[in-house]
Amino acid sequence: MGNFLLPFREGRTSDSRFSPTSIFVSSIFMGILLSLQTQLMILLGLIGLVLLFGTLARTRWRVVISLAARFEVVILFWVLLLPFFYGSTVILSISVPWGQLIAYQEGLEFGVLIGFRIFGLITLFLAALSHMSLAEFIGALRTLKIPTFILGSLLIMLRYIPLFVEERQRMQEAQKLRGFEKGEIMERIQSLGFLIGSIIDRAMDRSISVYESMTLRGFGHGMFIVGVRPKRNDIALILGLIILTLILFNQQILEVLSG
């Protein structure tokens, strides 16, 4: 059997200094702060703060960064594509058979900003999740009053996505052993279609079995997920976020207060 897709800690409890609920809420709050930033230097400063705080909290950066790296295509997509669609200051002009390809400075800056935002958000959430077990994460969501049926579905999804990934790998290996790699492009497309179809089919079968298993053990009759309690150290985390918000938005806050 495979691993979970996200960098959760193993076991039931992670012995973190902060409660999983406060870690999760804080990361959402920090995520909002990251998303609101329009100045690259402040954004980089915030990412630096996340990295510094994460290092102090002994985040398993190797695991987190290796997972975050999977999103490099999404980040590069924005950085490389936006310069050609947005802006007015030309920084590059290339002649292509169908005309001129022009890159703009504003688009590049915007692309870099979005790229760093995505990187910051992904790193932040993965780092936060790496400090709690899956049970604690679900418990934190329960404390935040997320309905049980959503949590049940989330739990099953997190449990079974890796199994489907493994199944896909096994089926691809079986195809390779029967010469799939040597096929023509149309054959490859056809095989890929069969592969996706089979995985969906198996996923449906398995979801029915899991649901039956849960039903037999009383799913829907009781509260199978229990919330997690806050810890004293949570106050320090919340205070830190408030101070950070005051520093970042002091002018806007003063304007609102002075009417």
Binding site: N3, G11, S133, R206, V210, E212, L216, G218, F219
Partner: protein
């Protein structure tokens, strides 16, 4: 003898498949094997007992309580079901969470849930795996944890779908001891198997399904002497001789 499960003239039809006029009983404390070729309707019968499927006609009673929609939850408290594949059963993040799932749904306090989890993991010899993620166990370990999840609800009847499939000999031996221990606690048992060894040595009685029809329900000894029943369990001796002939040994 008191009936734990009583099935009368049960009919079920779904597309091409059908169970026809099945009548059988599982007595209190009995250990019955349900035998039949693939697709003969064994798992379907289990699902009908548990209310996961509804019969077209006929009746099922569990401890004299009729299996119908309003009684399903009460029946499921009495009847535990071990799936053939533990992958279909284990879904929670850790062993503890998965075994605690049933007791929590029974409305037990956290203290009672803890006790139940400890008891059932101890029964299956998996006490040291409390914090283990469910996806990081061998097939045999996962099967034992899945069984712990079932018995944590303290059912009176156990339905086991191919309990020994895919297990190596030491694990089969362990599972036999675990199940015997549960039997000693008074549980009734209905299990499916293709393996003649578990019929000859382990079943008090045998029920044989063939193409959706119950063709035998009675003591093990007389079943094993009946040729028509041997067809369902497989003629392993003849297969063995044929294999030896292929190898040129005979």
């Amino acid at each position: 003898m008191t009936c734990a499960i009583e099935i009368n003239n049960l009919n079920f039809r779904y597309n091409e498949f059908s169970l026809e006029d099945v009548t059988m009983n599982l007595h209190l404390g009995e250990q019955k094997a349900l035998v039949g070729l693939n697709g003969s309707g064994k798992t379907t019968l289990f699902k009908l007992i548990l209310g996961l499927l509804e019969p077209t006609s006929g009746s099922i009673h569990v401890f004299e309580r009729r299996a119908k929609r309003e009684n399903y939850w009460e029946i499921r408290k009495d009847v535990g079901f071990l799936f053939q594949s533990p992958d279909d059963q284990l879904f929670a993040p850790t062993v503890w969470e998965d075994v605690a799932f049933g007791p929590r749904n029974l409305g037990m306090s956290e203290e009672e849930v803890d006790q139940q989890v400890e008891w059932s993991l101890d029964k299956v010899g998996m006490s040291g795996f409390v914090n283990r993620p469910v996806n990081q166990m061998s097939h045999g370990q996962a099967k034992r944890v899945a069984l712990a999840g079932v018995i944590a609800m303290r059912p009176k009847i156990l339905l086991l779908d191919e309990p020994f499939a895919g297990l190596d000999f030491p694990m089969v031996s362990t599972m036999v001891d675990i199940i015997q221990d549960l039997r000693n606690d008074g549980m009734s048992l209905l299990y499916t198997t293709h393996n003649r060894f578990f019929l000859e040595n382990w079943a008090d009685s045998i029920a044989v399904l063939h193409d959706g029809k119950l063709i035998y329900d009675g003591p093990t000894e007389s079943a094993l002497q009946d040729n028509s029943i041997n067809k369902q369990t497989g003629n392993w001796e003849e297969l063995g001789n044929r294999m030896k002939r292929y190898r040129g040994v005979v």
